[in-house]
Symmetry: C2
Subunit: 190 residues, 2 copies
């Protein structure tokens, strides 16, 4: 590897619901579109939509088909380009396998959480590590009320929570992905 | 004024469609939720959803009622808090009037565009201006294929386009708002 290689994953299982029960969430159309467009803008290699059910994957494949080959591809070619980076995949294990096959290295897994842990890192630190281009990174986001605790804790690094001027932090996953990609892969505007 | 005061506006008329015709777009649920949550996280005073039709405003008011007073307020109080910053309003003129009434000053209007203009400014410059707290700012975003050219050009400042490592820039308006708020009002993580 000589150039930065970043992958994004959106996990639909195992995640918590509001009552801290382990559930599988549904794939939403907006998560498909917004996150693929942000991923494409920031040069992410692949955006993995991780869902264990073939029926859900099939549904999303049909929506994607409209934008990739149907009328949508003609009407909005930019969206076609963004969607071409999406991979529908059944598990986190398969995602790691796929990235290892593509890059020749096991990816470092990065998650985010509202709390801090012993392996919490800052954005500046991770931006420098990524740009060194020595290892592939998988930025892993949970849906629902967040990914299962043991997955969170097994990550190589956990990113600091995003704060504005207040202590309110309830960004949508779509907004959080956009901001994190901008901090890690965006130009140095500051 | 002694503290930074920033307002966000999402314009549904007058904006272009794909064929560069002037149209009124519909308010979408996701724009309501995602942008109000980002606005609340970054300490934005009010988020103005600008739409000329009373029928559209009424529809959104009903959805908001569910989250403010209905079951949604109990189920998800964080969302209630975000939504309390939303104002439905009929025009850009009324928005400016409202901000002037609240702050005692006419707001500076900031837009974004993929092209550069004589009044294009960088994020660092604007972040410093905002934090000086001398004037209120309205960050104005267009829906559809962007706001009418004359509105764009009459803004006090136009923000530089957001770039990642490529020349592809087709972020959703929800992602663009999140990134711009983070750059202008977020902590100095860099």
């Amino acid at each position: 590897m000589t150039k930065p290689m970043v992958f994004v994953g959106l996990l639909h299982y195992p995640v918590y619901n509001k009552h801290m029960e382990i559930v599988t969430t549904s794939i939403t159309n907006l998560d498909v579109h917004d996150i693929s467009r942000s991923s494409r803008t920031y040069g992410v290699e692949n955006y993995y939509i991780i869902h264990p059910l073939e029926s859900q994957q099939k549904l999303i494949r049909e929506v994607m088909g409209y934008w990739k080959e149907g009328y949508g591809a003609v009407y909005n070619p930019d969206r076609k380009e963004a969607i071409s980076r999406i991979k529908l995949i059944e598990s986190l294990e398969k995602t790691i396998e796929d990235i290892t096959k593509i890059t020749g290295k096991t990816p470092k897994i990065i998650t985010t959480d509202a709390r801090t842990y012993p392996n919490t890192v800052g954005y500046k630190y991770l931006k420098e590590k990524i740009s060194a281009g020595e290892e592939p990174y998988l930025l892993l986001f949970g849906t629902g009320w967040g990914m299962r605790q043991d997955l969170m804790e097994s990550a190589d690094h956990i990113l600091e929570p995003i704060y504005g001027p207040s202590d309110y932090n309830h960004l949508s996953v779509r907004s959080a992905v956009a901001i994190i990609l901008d901090r890690l892969l965006g130009e140095s505007w500051y």
